[in-house]
Amino acid sequence: MFRGKSKWLSVALAFFLYSGTFLIHAQEGETIFKAKCATCHQPHKDGTGPKLYEVRQKWENGGAKAGSLMQWVKNWQVAAANDAYAQTVSQWSPTAMSLFPDLTDEQITAVFDYVDAQPVPGAGAADAGAFAMTETSEQENNTGWIWYILAAVFVVIILSVGGVRRQLKMVNTNEEDRLSYSEELRQWAWVNKKYVGIGTLVIVLALIVTLFLQLYTIGVVTAYQPNQPIQFPHDIHAGKNGIDCKYCHNSVEKSKSAGIPTVNVCMNCHKQVQGNDDNQTAQISKIYAAAGFIPDGGGQYTGETANIVWNKVHALPDHVYFNHSQHVVVGGIDCKQCHGDMTKQNELPRVVPVEELNEIDGNIPLTRATLTMGWCIECHGAKEIANGPVLDKDRDEHKHGYYDEIHQRLMNNDKALYEKYLEDGKVTVKELGGWECAKCHY
């Protein structure tokens, strides 16, 4: 009785200990894998290093010597020298694996156990980053033509009724009393001259106003949304994946132009991110073609590069000087003030209309069309420079920089003018010469 009980107890204890050590074992494997291996190896996908799922099985099937794999993890050079299979594995990629002489056999086994326990990703679950490029040109109102046909039908009806009435009237009058259309019109206009006069005035004024409104739209491109060589979804990159605008458009703080990212910037992520569905893979393969990259296996560059020719969307005429770094670094303007919220943009790039820009939080509300001179100077008249980088403690190079100097000069040279500027409680770009012609035109 007692003996039986102790036997059961010891079994239970053994089981408890075993499961405990197993848990610790798995946890250790995960910790080591994440700390030391995951940078290059993934369980199910080749990366900088080959995938590790069931790698022990693979080596055994490949005819590797026993213990060779353990040796490889600790010091691959020793393993490659002693084992033919390890030698072939060392040819897999030109990059060298790091040495891990400190890992024990138990720890390596724990890592492999952890990797083998990772579930194989299901075939149906691969829709994580599916994106839909909306073709805006096809979204145009397709029922519009019905109204044109209806209008045409009504016009025809009105004209026919009028014609019939006139025919009937002519039957009743004498041959010489019959009037031509123009005579009839003149007669009618003379009778109703008050209304005709007012009507004509209104029409002429409307035409003049329309003419000027039309002149304002010269150079305003609203419907320009050209196809691009690669369907690039801004919302996935800047929104979902949280990449800062400045990472790809990285000359924005240093240069006049914000810069289109070069292919090597794309490759910084797309070396690993190869697409979850056919459309994504097709788009990303265009980057590979340009970079001269073969994604198979661990991925290798061939050195045969090509250009990606993007279509320029934002164009300013040659007589305007615009500098991104001036606005972003010195002015402290956020990208969204002019380009809209790109973290939500999944259509092709376009010049965002001013109405949409005004809806964004934190933007200075403007009225003129985007990229027109009215729009620029409106903003120069509204943008306060006191909230700019002068107060930005992180930017030590501006703490006592340009704007402080200007404030000082204003105070010293013309105190009355400075106080006039401050009447509305703020100093704007305009008051520092932002409306001078030569600020942008020279």
Binding site: T39, G47, T95, G129, Y224, G242, S257, N264, C269, Q272
Partner: protein, 252 residues
């Protein structure tokens, strides 16, 4: 009678023509439309990202679809002022890339990259390299501030705001295998620089995105993640000195 009938059909024709002209105003998203003073959009002074294939009514086949944003010539050094410390920091990096860098990171010799003969000799040598920007009590706030700005826009999407390797890219499931800086304590400052400059493993080279001063600033900032309390004590590297020496350096 016949004449009147003709007049009516003239009106109808006019209406139909009007309707047709109105409906023909369907926009083409691929075309910017008619340009008023078109030459103004293609500057005679070469501007980046402008296609000069067709310019002033002349076709230039050799310029069509060509890069207009060009790289500076190899080994050219921008003007960084007259401060010799800064200029020498900006001189081209003396460590060569790994011999495999052309294949693994696309750093082709034809584009001006200098590759060494060995896989990792240069990387191992870099362990001894010192950060030319020295951290003092006076400048550390400015350096960490600058570093934080750079880190947020250039690194944080993968490496995470806290340097734990869990940036939004990793959290969204798009990317995997970003290390936690806490686990990279055995790297030397120079090796961190080397890895940012030439890329390491899955990470690409960032030499084109950051200049050397910016990378060394980032090395300081990243060290804050790697070592607890980095930069908080006034002097980091003179632990072996006696207490009087310590106070002297603090006063400085």
């Amino acid at each position: 009678m016949k004449k009147n009938f003709k007049a009516i059909s003239l009106y109808v024709a006019a209406v139909i023509a009007g309707v047709a002209s109105l409906t023909s105003c369907i926009s083409d998203a691929d075309s910017p439309g008619l340009e008023y003073t078109p030459d103004m959009y293609r500057s005679p002074a070469i501007e980046p990202y402008v296609d000069y294939g067709e310019f002033r009514n002349k076709e230039h086949v050799e310029l069509k679809s060509q890069q207009s944003a060009m790289r500076p010539p190899n080994y050219s050094i921008p003007f960084y002022g007259s401060d010799s410390a800064k200029v020498s920091m900006m001189l081209p990096y003396h460590r060569l890339a790994s011999s495999a860098a052309a294949v693994s990171h696309g750093l082709n010799a034809s584009e001006g990259w200098r590759l060494s003969d060995s896989l990792d000799v240069e990387y191992n040598k870099a362990k001894a390299d010192k950060n030319p920007i020295s951290l003092t009590a006076d400048n550390k706030d400015a350096i960490f501030g600058k570093g934080k700005k750079l880190y947020t826009s250039m690194c944080a999407h993968c490496h995470g705001e806290k340097g734990n390797g869990e940036g939004p890219m990793v959290k969204s499931g798009a990317y995997a295998g970003v290390p936690n800086y806490k686990n990279l304590t055995e790297l030397g400052d120079g090796q961190v620089f080397y890895s940012i400059y030439y890329g390491k493993g899955a990470m690409g080279a960032h030499a084109m995105l950051l200049n050397k001063e910016e990378i060394w600033t980032l090395v300081h900032y990243v060290n804050k993640f790697r070592f607890d309390g980095y930069g908080e004590e006034p002097v980091m590297e003179v632990e072996a000195l006696d207490s009087t020496a310590m106070t002297e350096t603090i006063v400085e």
